[in-house]
Symmetry: C2
Subunit: 301 residues, 2 copies
């Protein structure tokens, strides 16, 4: 009916111009607090590869949205799920629901309801509602602050490799990540900016950079790669590919004033990977004696 398909980035740019988007959640002030609302669409072809169990699908669908609540420093109030499928089978539905409920329980929140619909392709849209006294935005990073990440990177990339090698148990376990809600909440009063790494570290650094109008100098040797990535990557290029550009890690990337480092270290575990520099310096990675610009690319969903 209409011509000229748009690229995903163009779609987002087009929508950004007309909607108040640009952070991990929509933020709604209410009664001296802030409500956080986020919605994520997952579907069979892109998000549920062969070998992922229904339990893992349910877990991840919930976890992906709760990760957005974590990235704003929020506490979850509840989750709803819209589920579309060509047909519903009780065993699939039971296992999917077990996974979704287990993730909610692990995150001290509740699955409150949803909608079902016949659909040509398995489609899951999860919406999480949260609350934050003091939301952490993407836009608060300042020059001289530290750049930090929770956990380690590349787990989902490693998991997909393991799925291809038919090591299903290990892959599914890696895929069931725990959203960093606890870390997000304790960092809410310390971090100056925060985002979850959903499209790769590189892409998330560019998003934070664009929102805060700063640059970053990243120390490649400091980046924490998951053990599985170090085991599976055949060389350094592949290590970076899996850990920096692949995405779906759902770790928190945040900036921290230097004087808050001690307090933050006592509150939760994380790794300092670089520091904030003026915007005109761009985003660079120190790799041995070389400092190279970080390519702005990542996973497009």
């Amino acid at each position: 009916m209409y011509s000229k398909p748009m690229r995903e980035r163009d779609v987002i740019q087009f929508l950004s111009a007309r909607l108040p988007i640009g952070d991990d959640c929509a933020v709604i002030p209410l009664k001296k607090t802030h409500l956080l609302l986020t919605t994520d669409m997952l579907h069979r072809q892109t998000d549920f590869p062969e070998g992922m169990t229904p339990y893992t699908m349910g877990w991840r669908a919930v976890a992906v949205s709760l990760s957005d609540i974590a990235a704003m420093g929020g506490k979850p109030l509840g989750v709803v799920i819209a589920l579309g499928a060509p047909q519903f089978e009780q065993k699939f539905l039971e296992e999917f629901l077990d996974g979704a409920l287990a993730c909610c329980t692990a995150c001290q929140t509740k699955l409150l309801g949803g909608d079902t619909d016949r659909h040509s392709e398995l489609t899951v849209v999860t919406t999480a509602l949260g609350e934050a006294q003091k939301p952490v935005w993407r836009s608060g990073a300042c020059v001289e602050e530290l750049v930090c990440v929770t956990g380690d990177l590349g787990r989902t990339a490693a998991a997909l490799r393991l799925l291809k090698e038919r090591d299903f148990d290990r892959a599914n376990e890696l895929l069931r990540f725990l959203p960093r809600l606890r870390e997000g909440q304790v960092l809410a009063h310390l971090a100056s900016s925060m985002i979850d790494i959903s499209d790769g570290l590189a892409r998330s650094l560019y998003l934070l950079s664009g929102a805060s109008r700063v640059g970053f100098r990243i120390d490649a040797t400091a980046i924490p790669f998951a053990l599985e990535v170090e085991e599976l990557a055949r060389d350094q290029d592949e290590l970076f590919e899996m850990g920096l550009f692949f995405g779906e890690d759902f770790e928190l990337l945040f900036t921290l004033p230097q004087e808050k480092l001690f307090e933050a270290r006592r509150a939760c575990e994380f790794t300092v990977i670089g520091r904030v520099v003026p915007e005109h310096e761009g985003i660079t990675v120190q790799l041995g004696p070389e400092r190279i610009p970080l390519p702005d690319r990542g996973y497009e969903h």
Copy 2:
């Protein structure tokens, strides 16, 4: 992978046993008020027939979720949309967004963001967040109260007929219903139970009956049919089919203590169509001298 597909009703029953569902929205108490959260999945094959414009699609996607907020007597706080499509075209996206934004504006709320995803079939999942000091549940109807509906019934059934007759302008206009938020809010302190008519009056009466454990005696001559339905229906059977069983009317069905009638009449327009009777009498329709049981069927999405 798994056998034995389930019917939609079985899916809902299965989910109801494990989740706190059973009303138009999930209700979350917070700071002396109640948050309302509802999510709806729409897709090309079932919900966007040929001839429906992208503007109307955007309007309806938002309106369907806001109608659930209305049905609990709530005021909307914001809407997010997840949109999946085989490809995104700027003209489609612009018109869709225009419709979604226009509906938000008409309802004094805001479109706050969302998610986009490549998808084999056009899929829209809208989530609305609302607030109600005193939510109206489906479970509060008492014997002797009045049964009432806002507006008139059968507009969507008439619109789909008009689409088939290629009377696109009139059809699209009928499809862009205004969610009954104002009515829902003024009725919140008067109505004893409320639901929006999404699967037909008959199905909604059964849902209200099940939740409140009451029966209803409906006066067929009092049911307000839309002018278009009266014009398009070829006989009385078809009139009832379009107005009682087709659904997607998104009018409010509510019960009202008799002593509140005067106050309610001053607050908004509605029609009294029957009264609440004990559960064992079931749901019957008075049609001339006859009183017949109302079939429990409606639109399955």
